[in-house]
């Protein structure tokens, strides 16, 4: 019998702990597939965040180092500088990468660290039970913005847009996984980000709009709709920066 679809070798056989309807799972699969298709499972070191993806070492088939909250990019920098021939990626939530770890993210981009960051933006702190994140939209109710985020709490940070201004960032993309077409585009962006690293061009960063039905208090289907109607209009989408030979960069 012909196999038409198989679980990727880039993931282990463990059942994930993610909530039903959470798109962390889709993003894991895409990364697993890319590790397999690019034949880099054995030469990749992933760095896990603190957040809902903090147990991802159970799921990815490559070696994983668990970082402290916000420090994944610094940890990845150390691993990559120690082993420049390895592929190194971070997998981080928006709180991890854009709040507590913002300095690490921007600085690694400025240094042009040859590693790849995957930034999962669900507009909330999932792991700790739904508090306000740096990406929480204005008006959005969370456990620490119970009446809705207002201006006194600041504005949602569009990190990929910021990073696209940074010289050492070679590739910056912002994608979504809310429908099959979007998933295919997300995979393309992720693959390109890994390729940019393999080509030694600099820092590559892919932001992925993601759902948190549990803490948004909606069904999985409503969550996808919320990504489309609320998040997509606010956050810049697409390839925000491409390598110089494709017409990107400051040169």
């Amino acid at each position: 019998m012909k196999t038409v679809f198989a679980k990727t070798a880039g993931l282990t056989d463990r059942v994930t702990h993610y909530c039903p309807g959470c798109t962390h799972g889709i993003i894991h699969r895409l990364i697993g597939e890319i590790l397999e298709e690019m034949e880099i499972i054995g030469k990749t070191v992933g760095v896990a965040p603190v957040g809902c993806a903090g147990f991802c070492e159970n799921y990815f088939a490559c070696d994983i180092i668990g970082a402290a909250h916000g420090r994944a990019v610094a940890v990845a920098t150390g691993a990559k500088r120690a082993h420049p021939d390895r592929v190194v990626f971070t997998y981080q939530g928006d709180g991890d990468g854009a709040s507590i770890g913002l300095a690490e993210t921007v600085s690694a981009a400025a240094r042009g660290e040859k590693l790849t960051s995957i930034f999962v933006n669900n507009a909330i702190y999932g792991m700790t039970g739904g508090q306000m994140a740096p990406t929480t939209l204005l008006g959005m109710k969370t456990a620490t913005s119970p009446y809705g985020r207002d201006e006194s709490m600041g504005y949602p940070l569009d990190l990929p847009k910021l990073l696209a201004q940074v010289r050492g960032a070679a590739y910056v993309a912002s994608v979504s996984v809310d429908n099959p077409q979007a998933v295919r585009e997300a995979k393309k962006a992720l693959k390109k980000a890994f390729q940019v690293q393999l080509d030694g061009l600099g820092y590559s960063f892919v932001s992925i709009l993601s759902t948190c039905p549990t803490n948004w208090g909606v069904t999985p289907v409503e969550a996808l709709e919320w990504v489309r109607t609320k998040m997509k209009p606010y956050f810049a989408l697409g390839e925000l920066k491409v390598p110089a030979e494709e017409g990107g960069g400051e040169e």
Binding site: I41, G42, V45, G54, I65, G66, A68, T77, G78, A82
Partner: protein
């Protein structure tokens, strides 16, 4: 052949000779010669000097490189060392070998640039969260900085534990004649089969620091407790001076031990039988060596560049069997030998301190 070298540079050169090929740090006085030397020499040695955006990032770069199996170090001074405490707690829990030098300066706060030993508690008691101790080594000469730096890398690998070099600002800045490669003989070390450096040809490795159940958490902590007990049994280091006939003893490390040596000469010339017990490992504190001297010593005195931190460990070791005095200067000030002699007379000879 002996050459003249600054303490901070000696640490950096010894680290390179010990096979350290990655240094991640952020400049801070009085430790800046360490990153500067690394920036100058690492590339030629085939390694990398990496200037981090902060000490927070630096310690996690060390964490990532160490987790991937590399010999890696950082060097900083007190305020930077404070920023590294969360990382040190993680390094301990993830069992990642690395070496950190803390060239201590005045505190608290931004403090001053002068030398102190006031990070003693933070160094030896586990400055970050949770039950842990790094190994802490305190050299007293520039030559000893070389030998202990080399040894620190091996101890880190053997125990899979961060090892810290506790250096006061004077030692970091002072020039003394030194010999390379020094006296330390490298040990045969276990292969880093646990490292996360790509799983080609072997099952995958994870280097992590959390546990999902309290039962697993307790089991991990008990295992680390055993490891720390092993370090306490095997790694207590100290040196002694003029203790064999002594009735009184000073306890001091680093620069304060060297000033105390002069005070001992002065007191001996007056006929007072006094010697020096110099801890080289601040953690594990050399309790056993100190306690061997307890029966003969009628009075102890801890000399420190702080408000009196190590004196607590001295009191615990002496355990009430003799009076324990303390004298120190703070904020970057250094005691004169005469001050130490005077304090010793009032506190110990004239019975100013009780046991």
């Amino acid at each position: 052949m002996a050459i003249l070298m600054k303490g901070n540079e000696a640490i950096a050169e010894a680290a390179i000779q010990a096979g350290c090929r990655l240094f991640c740090g952020y400049p801070i006085t009085p430790s800046t010669e360490i990153p500067e030397y690394m920036a100058k020499k690492m590339k030629k040695a085939g390694g990398t000097y990496l200037q981090a955006e902060s000490e927070v990032a630096a310690i996690y770069m060390v964490y990532g490189a160490g987790a991937a199996g590399a010999r890696v170090m950082s060097g900083t001074s007190s305020p930077g060392f404070s920023l590294m405490q969360e990382g040190l707690s993680y390094l301990f829990a993830a069992e990642i070998p690395c070496v950190i030098a803390d060239v201590m300066r005045g505190g608290p706060g931004l403090g001053g640039l002068g030398p102190t030993q006031a990070d003693y508690f933070q160094l030896t008691k586990g400055g970050g969260h949770g039950d842990y101790h790094p190994i802490v080594l305190a050299p007293a000469t520039v030559q000893e900085m070389i030998d202990l730096t080399k040894e620190a890398f091996d101890l880190a690998d053997i125990y899979r534990n961060p090892v810290i070099l506790a250096v006061d600002g004077i030692l970091g800045q002072m020039m003394e004649p030194v010999e390379f490669p020094g006296t330390y003989k490298a040990k045969i070390l276990p292969a880093k089969t646990w490292a996360a450096d790509g799983c080609e040809g072997r099952p995958k490795n994870n280097v992590i620091s959390y546990y999902l159940s309290s039962e697993a958490g307790e089991a991990d902590n008990l295992r680390w407790g055993k490891k720390m007990a092993q370090m306490q049994a095997a790694e207590q280091r100290f040196a002694e001076l003029s203790l064999d006939d002594a009735e009184y003893a000073f306890v001091a490390f680093g620069t304060s031990s060297r000033i105390t040596e002069t005070a001992i000469d002065m007191l001996r010339s007056e006929g007072v039988k006094v010697g020096l017990f110099r801890p080289i490992s601040l953690w594990p504190f050399p309790v056993e060596g100190l306690q061997k001297r307890v029966p003969q010593i009628k009075g102890w005195m801890s000399i420190e560049l702080s408000a009196g931190q190590m004196v607590q460990d001295v009191r615990l070791a002496v355990n009430g069997r003799a009076p324990v005095g303390f004298y120190g200067r703070q904020g970057g000030m250094i005691p004169e030998p005469e001050e130490i002699v005077a304090a010793f007379k009032t506190q110990i000879l004239q019975g100013g301190v009780q046991r």
